[in-house]
């Protein structure tokens, strides 16, 4: 029952990339901020050699859709939505 409630909770992030090196993740974050004027880009360490660059979290469909539509000009190969 608790699991279902957690599943229903709307909390998503927009994932840009999962990178092997922290330096690469920091570099990507800087480029997204400087070249595409994106704000609130975060980096989280998933494992010893995996760093996720993402934006969010978002708590409703409208806000995530608006931000997603703004960042489509980045032309990333595979931007994903990840549920927290």
């Amino acid at each position: 029952m608790i699991k279902n409630e957690n599943n229903m909770k709307f909390e998503y992030i927009i994932k840009f990339a999962d990178l092997f090196f922290e330096e690469s993740a920091i570099m990507l974050k800087k480029r997204l901020e400087n070249e595409f004027n994106l704000r609130d880009i975060n980096i989280t360490k998933l494992s010893k050699n995996l760093y996720r660059v993402y934006k969010g979290p978002f708590y409703n469909l409208g806000s995530i859709r608006n931000v997603y539509n703004e960042i489509t000009n980045v032309n990333f190969e595979n931007i994903e939505l990840i549920k927290l």
């Binding site: 469909l61 859709r65 997603y68 539509n69 939505l81 549920k83």
Partner: protein
């Protein structure tokens, strides 16, 4: 002597061949996976020109612009882990925010929540044969067959013993 060396060297150099062989993979399988929201198709979307092509209500067709038509895909409802195998339909226009457009049948079969249609689209390798995993035989295992001592092999007929036992009981 010099002449011999020159002939030998010319033969050696001319017989050498540069091999620029390209390794061509016969496997055309392209792996693709994407987590995101699916757009649930209805006729209003088509009438309002949000989606440019129709999907039959009972079909297992999915629109996805990153994959080729007729590609087999696995579509998973990430909220309850239910999945099914579907096919990519014709190239269609739909809002870029969504990773796919799905039919009503897929929604009902995967019990997708219309408020959170959070799905994973991934390609599946539909070739007939594939290696799931390679088995490892450890050195210790290999030694067992050779070292296990078998002195003699005898055959015992169990059925006769049973008959005798029955007779004894009588």
């Amino acid at each position: 002597m010099r002449l011999n060396i020159i002939i030998f060297l010319t033969l050696l150099l001319t017989s050498c061949e540069t091999t620029n062989k390209k390794i061509v993979s016969k496997n055309n399988f392209n792996s693709y996976s994407n987590n995101g929201f699916a757009l649930i198709y209805n006729d209003d979307l088509y009438k309002k020109k949000i989606v440019s092509k129709k999907i039959e209500q009972r079909s297992l067709i999915v629109f996805n612009n990153k994959l080729k038509k007729d590609t087999d895909i696995k579509i998973t409802n990430l909220l309850n882990d239910k999945y099914l195998i579907a096919k990519i339909g014709k190239h269609s226009k739909y809002p870029i925010f969504y990773n796919s457009v799905i039919s009503d049948r897929i929604v009902t079969e995967l019990e997708i929540d219309p408020n959170q249609p959070y799905v994973r689209i991934e390609t599946i390798n539909s070739s007939d044969t594939f290696i799931a995993n390679k088995a490892k035989t450890f050195d210790e295992e290999k030694k067992v067959a050779n070292k296990a001592p078998v002195d003699s092999i005898s055959i015992q007929n169990i059925s006769l013993d049973n008959k005798n036992n029955k007779n004894d009981k009588k």
